[in-house]
């Protein structure tokens, strides 16, 4: 093979691999990406969204809203103190899940009820999911320093 031919093989294969990778990435971005919304944004956007779109909802667990149907079927409401969304979840809630505390749920909105397949609670007494803290700050319900107090 000539020098030119060898170089051609190298460049074509490099372009082919990069092309495939770019294609895969674009394809994966269509389905593999999850939007984060607050309960208020969810209410606004419901009309425009694909019905089966996956998303994450962040906010506080509405005090008094947690109901356990049986051992593992739980429902609760996530609120940003303006709007709230009813969430259903099957499974064990994380250790740090508490009423009035920050939470992020990931899943789909089905007939106005958010069906979560994973629930993340804040990490320790200070830490809360960053998106939740940001959106609460925007809404003015954030007390700096010690986190939001609900009672």
């Amino acid at each position: 093979m000539t020098r030119k031919g060898r170089r051609l093989v190298l460049i074509t294969s490099a372009l082919a691999v990069i092309g495939v990778a770019a294609g895969l990435a674009l394809f994966a971005f269509r389905d593999g990406v999850v939007f984060f919304v607050t309960p208020s944004e969810l209410a606004e956007k419901t009309a425009t969204m694909r019905p089966e779109a996956r998303m994450r909802i962040g906010g506080l667990v509405q005090p008094g809203s947690v109901q356990k149907q049986d051992e593992r079927h739980v429902s609760f409401a996530i609120t940003d103190n303006q709007t709230d969304v009813k969430v259903t979840y099957t499974g064990l809630l994380p250790d740090l899940f508490r009423e009035g505390q920050g939470v992020v749920a990931e899943g789909q909105l089905i007939n106005g009820v958010f069906r979560a397949d994973s629930v993340l609670a804040k990490h320790d007494e200070k830490y809360m999911p960053r998106e939740v803290a940001d959106s609460l700050k925007q809404k003015g319900v954030w007390n700096d320093g010690s986190g939001p107090k609900t009672k």
């Binding site: 093979m1 020098r3 060898r6 170089r7 093989v9 190298l10 294969s13 490099a14 691999v17 990069i18 495939v20 990778a21 895969l24 990435a25 394809f27 994966a28 971005f29 389905d31 593999g32 990406v33 999850v34 939007f35 984060f36 919304v37 994450r56 051992e71 593992r72 499974g91 064990l92 809630l93 250790d95 740090l96 990490h123 320790d124 007494e125 830490y127 999911p129 960053r130 998106e131």
Partner: protein, 658 residues
């Protein structure tokens, strides 16, 4: 007093680092021997000063000196001694001090073990290394001083975050940092080559031990971090495609590519400019990782210490070094004599394919990790890119790597015989396909795990075919053993490291066969998990030094017989009023594990349990250990030691004596 000495030592180290960054550089440009000779003692003393500083902080932790803010915020007099030591780097300030310590350690090691190296190369390498350490010393002193005092002195500390009170903290960060920072040396070598405009096969031999060393530690660090997450986070996950994990995976991928391209450069004097670029890339990604973790720009299960102002400083360091080195690369790379070009079907061709796939997969991880940040900065929209994205992009790119790995070992330099290699790999392919069919027949369910497991078997067998080929001619067993021992250690190293990848892949594939059960039980009620049965015998309270816990004494049974016991628990830490669950893990059979976590204990004594049976799961980390072992063997190869490299570079025409 000791604390002030530590602080002062750090200031002195900075002053010395600035001297070491400038004087040898000037000396190398002016070809002035005495000025270049400043580098070596300066690097050693710089290390000693940083070590003194680190020792002072450790002393403050062990003595529980709560007049130091850092100790007050992260320690407690009742904390077990091991966490007083590891607590030193269990916080932002201390971990940055550890970073600088390792950086200085590498500088000192180059200074001490570089007898055969040309003087100007050594001076330039140490100068560049010192630019990096000066920047980070400045960062520590200006934004993250671990020695700040507190007045009046509190009586008791706030204790370390309970999630970090774990032996994992003692091991994981040092391993990972040695890996990250180890690439600083190859970076310095690359910058030195660009400044001096000279690069040859000897250069590739100088960087070989450093690249390999950094790679070994990074592999171990990532594996350790993954295992730590697995047993502490409580739901049996071991890799979350979390940005912080990706931050360590990216330098690993670039470093793996570097390791292979440096081999081409060493043997065939080709891919020179590409190798330099990879050396810059590997360290740039390490710096990026440090930025992502330390600046707190990410939502992440790992960020325990974050501060945006520090973020801007690290971003400055990042821009300076990445931008600076790439600018240097752009200006000077054309001055380097390019290497030859070679046949596509050859060992070097296979290594180029490896590089292409590794860097592209690294790029997809990069995009998936940084796209959400970029999108949020530009549009304010918040998204998360999770496992589905990476499985769809990284996965398909990694499969061709797995397929090509045994071929690469089999092809000769210059001109390979693809058909011949394929014929010799028939056995490996057969075992892979047979494994796939049998596993699917036995396990059932989705086909993906069986396909991946079959690929893994192909890779494990294929890794040793080359060595087997070399031993086949032996007549007797003793002849075969002596031949096996006579093979270069780097050949064994390659085979082991490649097989390690296969073993890890097998463990990953087997996660598809796992069983998960979420149950509510009372003591004495048996629960079936996979082929086993788990019974909590009793629930009992127990006191630890700085926590109280509720322990579930549990038996694992097989066919009615008790085969193992475990003690998962729920710990309440008194100082931070926080609960942490301790998973119970039992390893059974071929690396399979029963994993049990107590999610909740109710007033009436019933427990909510998460129970998992994870067949072969331990192979994931065992494979990483084997990869590192392969690296270690390769590192110990006598022919590739630095002294030999130096002799070879003095006599470039002479054929190797062995």
């Amino acid at each position: 007093m000791i604390v002030e000495i530590g602080h002062y030592a750090l200031v002195l180290a900075l002053a010395l680092a600035i001297v070491q960054a400038l004087v040898p550089l000037y000396g190398a440009i002016r070809r002035d021997g005495p000025l270049m000779a400043v580098a070596q003692p300066a690097a050693v003393v710089q290390f000693l000063l940083v070590a003194l500083s680190f020792a002072a902080l450790t002393h403050a932790y062990v003595m529980s000196d709560f007049s130091v803010v850092n100790v007050f915020e992260n320690s407690h007099s009742l904390k077990p001694l091991i966490y007083k030591f590891s607590g030193v780097w269990g916080n932002h300030e201390g971990s940055m001090l550890l970073w600088v310590l390792i950086l200085a350690l590498f500088g000192a090691t180059v200074a001490l073990f570089s007898r055969g190296m040309p003087d100007d190369l050594r001076a330039l390498v140490l100068a560049v290394q010192s630019w990096v350490s000066a920047a980070f010393l400045l960062f520590v002193l200006l934004t993250s001083n671990p020695f700040a005092r507190l007045d009046p002195t509190p009586l008791e500390g706030r204790d370390l975050n309970p999630l970090l009170q774990d032996p994992g903290l003692a091991i994981h960060p040092p391993l990972l940092y040695i890996g990250y920072v180890g690439f600083s040396i190859t970076f310095s070598f690359a910058a030195a080559a660009l400044i001096s405009g000279r690069i040859d096969a000897a250069w590739a031999r100088y960087i070989r031990p450093w690249t390999l060393g950094a790679w070994i530690f990074l592999t171990l660090g990532i594996a350790m971090g993954s295992y730590w997450a697995y047993y502490t986070l409580g739901w049996g996950g071991f890799w979350f495609w979390d940005p912080v994990e990706n931050a360590s995976l990216m330098p690993w991928l670039a470093g793996t590519a570097l390791l292979h391209s440096a081999a081409v450069m060493e043997k065939r004097d080709a891919l020179k400019i590409w190798t330099i670029f990879l050396a810059i890339l590997a360290f740039s990604l390490s710096l990026l990782g440090t930025f992502l973790v330390r600046s707190g720009v990410l939502t992440s299960v790992h960020s325990f210490a974050s501060d945006p102002q520090r973020g801007v400083f690290i971003l400055g360091i990042l821009v300076f070094f990445i931008g600076g080195s790439l600018a240097l690369f752009a200006v000077r790379a054309s001055a380097l004599k390019p290497g030859g070009i070679f046949a596509p079907v050859s060992r070097e061709g296979a290594l180029v394919l490896n590089n292409l796939l590794l860097t592209t997969s690294c790029a997809t991880v990069f995009i998936g990790t940084l796209y959400p940040l970029a999108l949020e900065a530009v549009t304010g929209e918040k998204i998360s890119v999770g496992a589905p994205f990476f499985n769809l992009t990284f996965g398909p790119l990694f499969i061709p790597i797995i397929l090509a790995m045994p071929f690469g070992q089999m092809l000769a330099w210059k001109r390979g015989d693809l058909l011949g290699a394929a014929q010799r790999l028939v056995l490996a392919v057969a075992i892979g396909v047979a494994g796939m069919v049998v596993l699917e027949a036995v396990r059932g369910g989705p086909v993906m795990p069986a396909i991946l497991a079959g690929l893994a078997l192909y890779l494990i067998v294929g890794s040793f075919v080359e060595i087997y080929g070399r031993l086949r001619g032996a007549k007797t067993l003793s002849n075969m053993i002596s031949r096996a021992l006579g093979l270069p250690r780097s050949a064994w190293g390659t085979a082991l490291a490649h097989a390690g990848v296969g073993i890890t892949l097998f463990g990953l594939a087997a996660t598809g066969w796992g069983v998960e059960r979420i149950v509510t039980v009372r003591p004495g009620e048996p629960v079936a998990v996979g082929p086993y049965e788990v019974v909590v015998r009793e629930l009992a309270p127990r006191d630890g030094s700085n926590f109280k816990e509720l322990v579930a004494h549990t038996e694992v049974r097989e066919a009615g017989r008790v085969i193992a016991q475990m003690d998962p628990s729920r710990r309440s830490f008194t100082t931070r009023t926080m609960v942490r669950t301790e998973a119970g893990i039992v390893t059974l059979g071929a690396g399979g594990q029963i994993y049990m976590n107590i999610a909740d204990v109710r007033v009436d004594g019933a427990m909510d349990l998460r129970l998992y049976w994870k067949p072969y799961v331990a192979l994931i980390w065992l494979g990483c250990l084997i990869m590192s072992l392969g690296g270690l063997l390769s590192l110990s190869d006598r022919r590739l030691r630095i002294g030999i490299a130096q002799r070879a570079s003095l006599r470039p025409q002479a054929a190797p004596a062995e």
